[in-house]
Symmetry: C2
Subunit: 203 residues, 2 copies
DNA sequence: GTCTATACTTCGATAGAC
DNA sequence: GTCTATCGAAGTATAGAC
């Protein structure tokens, strides 16, 4: 497949960002199916042909929206270990990240039938999960918790699953058992308290 | 808004079921956006106008697909308490139900911008969760586990969140930390063993 | 970088004959 | 219950002038 010879707009152009913002907002408000070149452009106050000028195809537009968010997420995740109470920070981050995950859900649905999106999503999810496991591993070590009893992979997975499900349901207005689960986590995090003064810095 | 006077096909008609099946399969394979009257009919080997004859609108078609699955799910869920080891049965059921949850994800995405779908989804989710909590409550009682320590709401929510997330990710080909989490659950369920002979039948 | 013009496809929905 | 015929709206994408 030969690369198209069509012209393409600069990645730094202001209107490119305006289109990205419009696409993301539209996706959040009305779902991915509403993200057409015409709708995006209307929301951005631009002509719809500009979408093709800056992104060439709709797939590329979706991909660009995704990548922007993904990069930001990984970057923020990387700062967590520096927090005073990293376990609580991680939980808070998961909850928050998951709720911008109404957007993630749209990408999941998109991924079901757009190959390029699926690949990007899986790649990102893997990296995100791996990093999360590393964080949990480090934190559990600080708390002197036996990793044989509480494998970091399991803890990280459960945290991700619980927070994501909560955000997903919450966005729809379904909150049964949410309050109880939130209290439970809050209470148990409190019981753990702050980690004992840094004892393991061997890496 | 006056009800349309258009004719509508019988709920028992064979072709109605054929269309429902086609719609469901299409949704699973290519996402909800691929579910157009023309695509559905093509898959069913029928003319696309029949979709409108049997369902009047695409919303009604989506709703019918959803309701059919929902009813079946609730019915199967209701049989769980009768299992030999209900906790394990519940976990197995959750895992399995969640993996037809690639479909659920499509409905979630749909729900984002179709009001009638959202209402149906939320209603169903609530009933499903309530029933699941009841099951967990009964089972924990049999195991003589203190509900103050392990609130049934929390246990039910975490089970749902973990199983659903696993199915969702698995469907996309993302499996990081899945094996570890599955073993963990399996092992801990085994450690609990079979519930002590029925001691609480007071309801 | 933005515009007009254009080509082609697919969509949801309806009317009315058979 | 199924068909043909038809509507208008909206979609992706491209070519080429300004």
């Amino acid at each position: 497949m030969m690369a198209s010879t069509r012209r393409i707009g600069s990645p730094d152009a202001k209107n490119r960002t305006v289109l990205l913002d419009a696409a993301e907002q539209l996706m959040l408000e009305e779902g991915y199916a509403a993200v057409s070149s015409r709708n995006v452009a209307r929301k951005a106050g631009l002509k719809y042909q500009l979408v093709y000028y800056y992104f060439r195809t709709m797939d590329d537009l979706f991909l660009a929206v995704f990548q922007r968010r993904a990069e930001e997420g990984l970057k923020r995740q990387a700062t967590i270990l520096a927090a005073e109470n990293p376990l609580r920070a991680l939980w808070a981050f998961d909850l928050e990240a998951a709720s911008s995950g109404a957007l993630t859900m749209e990408f999941v649905a998109l991924a079901n039938h757009r190959k390029v999106i699926r690949e990007a999503l899986v790649d990102y999810s893997r990296r995100f999960r791996e990093a999360e496991i590393d964080i949990v591993r480090t934190v559990l070590r600080r708390y002197r918790i036996d990793p044989e009893v509480w494998p970091p992979e399991v803890v990280a997975f459960v945290m991700a699953g619980v927070s994501r499900t909560m955000a997903l349901e919450g966005a729809l207005g379904m909150t049964t058992a949410h309050e109880e689960t939130l209290s439970f986590v809050r209470e148990h995090l409190a019981r753990l308290g702050d980690p004992p003064a840094e004892t393991v810095v061997d890496e």
